[in-house]
Symmetry: C2
Subunit: 323 residues, 2 copies
């Protein structure tokens, strides 16, 4: 694996990793197995707390620690019920890296920092990125609208968002949204990001906790099938299926929010991602499914990402020699 | 101006230009003055036929030819009434480069090619890109959803679309949507594009035919204000204003298409872009307004783009030396 692009990389320095590639915290997909595999391969694996009770999270932290001696972290979506307890568990379990998302960076950052935790927070716009820096976070994840799952209302694409966030803050910027291979990783670096976070691409690996049906659906889908729905209440990018189409029809008919919420109900993402109900479950996925056509193991994916990133950069830089 | 990245560039070779930067055909903004300025600066300026009658187009072609000896072209949106006559005018006036959009690449390509014209066609997905190649076009423009004005229903972002189109065709790919500076141009090249087309960024230059109010609105706006509306009939990305907000409210209420069409009426983009009615006119603009904060002349913009593109590429490639 070539690493010369990362010799002075601030994300590598911050987290003590060899390559600035992070696996995102995806509900029902990012358990200890995936996190440990990514960390073992030189990146930073995150356990996704969003679909876990505090007890389950504690168990996954223990398992990850048993599986790897490399740094790993936990992703905590702040919009969920358990987020305060998730923070407590991370501190009790001496987790050294926490990514927070979907909420205010002011909520738990001070508490985590006092416990010696490195904190990054996910943002969909440059204004919030500046707040993340002010809140004392060590890094910011700039996630474009092409990303799967919960999405910002701004709908800013990665190409527009990343450089804007890079301009807005001094702390390292981790690019997310639409990254699935070495060339898109290189594009993120050239736009000023210091690292990349991949969600859907890691959800479609062997170590991902997602159901085989979910992985196969991502392999089969083109990018246009990964659409945002539920824009009024909480925008989510998911593969379109019977459920999403029915929901979208109700949205178009102007049905009241309460009716839409009731129709969505609870457990849709568990049904889709974990249980493999590809018709009636929610299948959070980014537009990057356009380029996903296999289910590699995490180490193979990491090798590909890093080598193809280097190739993309050096091939372009050497255009003038190839006359 | 540094040009070593473009010494063996296929877009430069195809059009006989020095740098693979193209100014898009924006209604009411892309007249002969802007096209000639971009071509004089080493790029490819396009006259936007969309807002012109055939007679007016003929006049703009004559003026562009008088203003520059460099290659320039015409952009013809095929969805408009006059497109067949626009093609005729281009052939009669011996225009050597035509970009077509918003319609089938099979419509006029053969007729144009027989007349010795180089043809490129704009696409929002990889499937149509393959059809563009089959239709005999010389190049394809892959335009991501962040672009201003008419938009594909797929809503694929540039980061996802560009590599997918590069993989789908052998002809040169010109990247569009979200490009406003040298770093985003470098990102397009690293993702396999051979050239870039910029719309909104060139609409906000001194030589653009757009009203000063439109240019100032783009400078003031952040990217989140450039939203897609009218998704059901013809998706258009435009700065939100009183008119767009009223339209969007009607959309959310589930009003019938005929009512929406009647409310939009005719002449909205003329009112916004040409006459400067920023409240009730349509202001087609891409998310790239996030990074637009001045109104340079076209030559200055071209210098900046090309030099910053080179800097971005070589800075990244030399990271390992900067230890």
């Amino acid at each position: 694996m070539r690493t010369e692009l990362f010799l002075s990389n601030p994300v590598c320095a911050l987290f003590g990793i060899r390559v600035p590639v992070i696996s995102g915290g995806m509900v029902w997909a990012s358990g200890w197995r995936l996190a440990a595999a990514v960390s073992e391969a030189g990146g930073l694996g995150l356990i996704g707390a969003g679909s876990m009770t505090p007890d389950v999270l504690a168990h996954h932290i223990d398992r990850a620690r048993a599986a790897t001696s490399q740094p790993f972290g936990v992703n905590i979506p702040l919009a969920y019920t358990h987020s305060r307890d998730h923070v407590r568990v991370c501190i009790e379990k001496d987790v050294k890296i926490v990514f927070t998302a979907a909420g205010s960076p002011g909520l738990h950052t001070a508490r985590l920092k006092e416990a010696g935790v490195r904190v990054a927070h996910v943002v969909p716009n440059a204004k919030l990125a500046a707040k993340v820096e002010s809140a004392g976070c060590d890094a910011v994840v700039a996630e474009g609208t092409e990303a799967g799952g919960h999405n910002g209302r701004e709908l800013l694409t990665s190409l527009v968002l990343w450089p804007s966030v890079v301009k807005a803050v001094q702390i390292p910027v981790i690019a997310a949204g639409g990254i699935g291979d070495g060339a898109t990783m290189a594009a993120a670096l050239i736009l000023g990001a210091s690292g990349v976070q991949l969600g859907t691409r890691f959800a479609v690996t062997r170590e991902s906790g997602a159901h085989e049906n979910y992985k196969n659906a991502c392999v089969a889908a083109d990018g246009a099938r990964a659409r945002i729905y539920n824009l009024a209440t909480m925008p989510i990018r998911s593969l379109s299926n019977e459920y999403v189409e029915a929901f979208t029809t109700m949205e178009k008919e102007g049905r009241p929010t309460a009716e839409l919420d009731a129709f969505r109900g609870r457990g849709r993402s568990k049904a889709g991602v974990f249980e493999g109900d590809t018709a009636n479950g929610e299948l959070p996925a980014g537009q990057v499914v356009e380029s996903i056509d296999d289910v590699p193991d995490a180490a193979t994916l990491m090798e590909r990402l890093v080598d193809d990133c280097h190739t993309a950069v050096y091939n372009l830089a050497r255009q003038e020699e190839r006359q």
